[in-house]
């Protein structure tokens, strides 16, 4: 049988460390995802308003997030804040700030898109029934928006989980970094370990992302 070097994972505490690394990734991404979704909803609704100042400000925000690579944002927040303001943010806090900054903008845009895609008739009918603005959004618009949002936001969430691998650049040891450490420490004894270890990392990411994608399927079926 081909030696894939998976056995290196069972040396010492290697596998445990890999799981700890995975937990670091999950922790950072889940905290960011929850905050991003909540803030994203607000930003999304704000984006649909016809206030020109708000419109410009949010547009600038969204474009910055789109243009800036997450890696650059991480460096700016982690090293830049210390350099410019003398604030010593922890690496985890910086990572969460960057991921929320990014997630909120993209989520906001998804919410905006979903609201805009709901036909004007829905609003007009609600107003005709005598509902006010809040009631219209609460009873008529948001249920339809949520349904459209589910598949879109699942994309964003899984993307955020996978992008956590970048945080190794600011010294956080997450699952991918642990796997590199394991491969490198065993380079001589087991040169093929890279394949086996990365295959396991792939499975771990899959195990995290797959339930989320199943949940989305379930929700979509239930609501249709």
């Amino acid at each position: 049988m081909l030696d894939l070097g998976i056995d290196v994972l069972f040396k010492g505490t290697n596998f445990l460390r890999l799981l700890q690394g995975l937990w670091v990734s999950i922790e950072i991404s889940l905290i960011s995802v929850v905050i991003s979704i909540l803030l994203g909803m607000i930003v999304g609704v704000l984006m649909t308003m016809n206030n020109p100042i708000l419109h410009v400000a949010l547009k600038v925000y969204l474009e910055i997030v789109r243009i800036m690579p997450q890696m650059v944002l991480l460096f700016i927040v982690y090293f830049g804040t210390t350099r410019v303001f003398g604030l010593d943010l922890s690496a985890e806090a910086s990572a969460i700030i960057v991921f929320c900054f990014w997630g909120t903008a993209e989520m906001g845009d998804l919410v905006r898109g979903s609201i805009k895609s709901i036909s004007k008739v829905q609003f007009e009918s609600a107003y005709a029934l005598g509902m006010d603005k809040v009631q219209t959004y609460w009873y008529v618009i948001s249920p339809q928006t949520f349904r459209r949002l589910v598949p879109l936001s699942i994309n964003l969430i899984t993307r955020m989980i996978k992008t956590t691998s970048l945080v190794m650049m600011i010294g956080i040891v997450e699952v991918l970094k642990v796997s590199q450490q394991i491969i490198e420490a065993n380079r001589k004894i087991s040169p093929n370990a890279a394949f086996g270890v990365f295959a396991v990392v792939f499975l771990l990411y899959f195990m995290v992302c797959w339930p989320i994608s199943r949940l989305s399927n379930y929700l979509e079926k239930r609501w249709v």
Partner: protein, 295 residues
């Protein structure tokens, strides 16, 4: 009409915002620190972007940046403990300072950034001393040598680059110091360039070239792992050194490290370090080539 104006304003604001962010972004890269935002750097050092020796001792922990995936210099072993040539020194520094060590896993690309923001006190991550880097950080005395090396088959060992015949080719990897050095100093030698380590390796094993020039640590490790090859020239060109680095201006810590390195030199500390961490990879023959002891 109204829409048009709004669009224009949006565009302008965007450009402005990006310019501001762009500038802020540059501030955090090393290059711009020399040019535009030189003020920011000097302002920071006056407000002290680092911890002095006393402050470190008082806090009871020292932050040391090391590689966590560069075996055998800095890596994490199967028990989750940091180990390697650099870490062996870090352990000793921590012990002699009487403080706990907090290891920070660094990457080649962020080592300077970590020091300049004071997020680590010392970098011990196989940090080669160069003039450009010495403008950004302060290097202590060296503890290891790096140079170029040339490996060739055992039956026809190349002992000097002058022995290389007109039709012989030397294998190099593009973009390495070996390529730059040979192009500059031996323009007559024909080079065979490869992009990746693996390609160069198989080309050399197939006998496409009479010799292979690369970092000496690389060629030494290659000759030990593969039968039938010998490093004819273990040290070529400019000797570079590897040294601990601290934040620019952190004199108390720098002086302490230098004194410590001198004390360690007396007890032949780095020979012990070599035997403990590098012997398996490089063998006993290269101990004197690679190790530096301060007298």
């Amino acid at each position: 009409m109204r829409k048009n104006i709004i669009n224009k304003i949006t565009g302008l604001t965007l450009i402005l915002a990006l310019a501001v962010v762009g500038l802020a972004g540059c501030g955090s890269t090393d290059k711009a620190a020399e040019q535009g935002s030189g003020e920011a750097t000097s302002a920071e050092s006056s407000s002290q972007g680092f911890r002095t020796l006393d402050e470190i001792k008082k806090s009871g922990t020292i932050n040391i940046g090391v590689f966590s995936d560069k075996s055998p210099f800095g890596y994490v072993d199967e028990n989750g403990e940091y180990a390697g040539y650099d870490v062996y020194l870090a352990e000793r520094l921590g012990k002699d300072l009487g403080v706990e060590i907090n290891y920070v896993s660094t990457e080649a690309a962020n080592r300077i950034e970590y020091l300049q923001t004071g997020k680590v006190d010392i970098i011990l991550a196989n940090f080669t001393v160069t003039e450009e880097r010495a403008q950004e950080v302060d290097f202590a005395l060296p503890y290891m040598n790096v140079a170029l090396g040339v490996v060739s088959p055992k039956d026809e060992v190349v002992k000097s680059l002058d022995d290389i015949g007109e039709d012989d080719q030397v294998i190099v990897i593009s973009g390495t110091t070996a390529e730059t050095y040979l192009t500059k100093n031996y323009p007559d030698i024909k080079l065979q360039k490869y992009d990746a380590y693996a390609e160069a390796k198989s080309a050399f094993e197939n006998g496409n070239g009479v010799a292979w020039a690369n970092d000496n640590t690389e060629v030494i490790a290659f000759a030990i792992e593969n039968e039938g090859y010998e490093v004819g020239i273990p040290s070529l060109g400019d000797q570079d050194t590897i040294a601990p680095a601290v934040t620019k201006g952190n004199e108390t810590l720098l002086n302490w490290i230098n004194d410590e390195l001198k004390t360690l030199g007396k007890e032949q500390f780095f020979h012990a370090d070599y035997e403990k961490t590098l012997l398996d990879t490089y063998g006993a023959d290269y101990e004197e080539t690679l190790v530096v002891e301060q007298q």
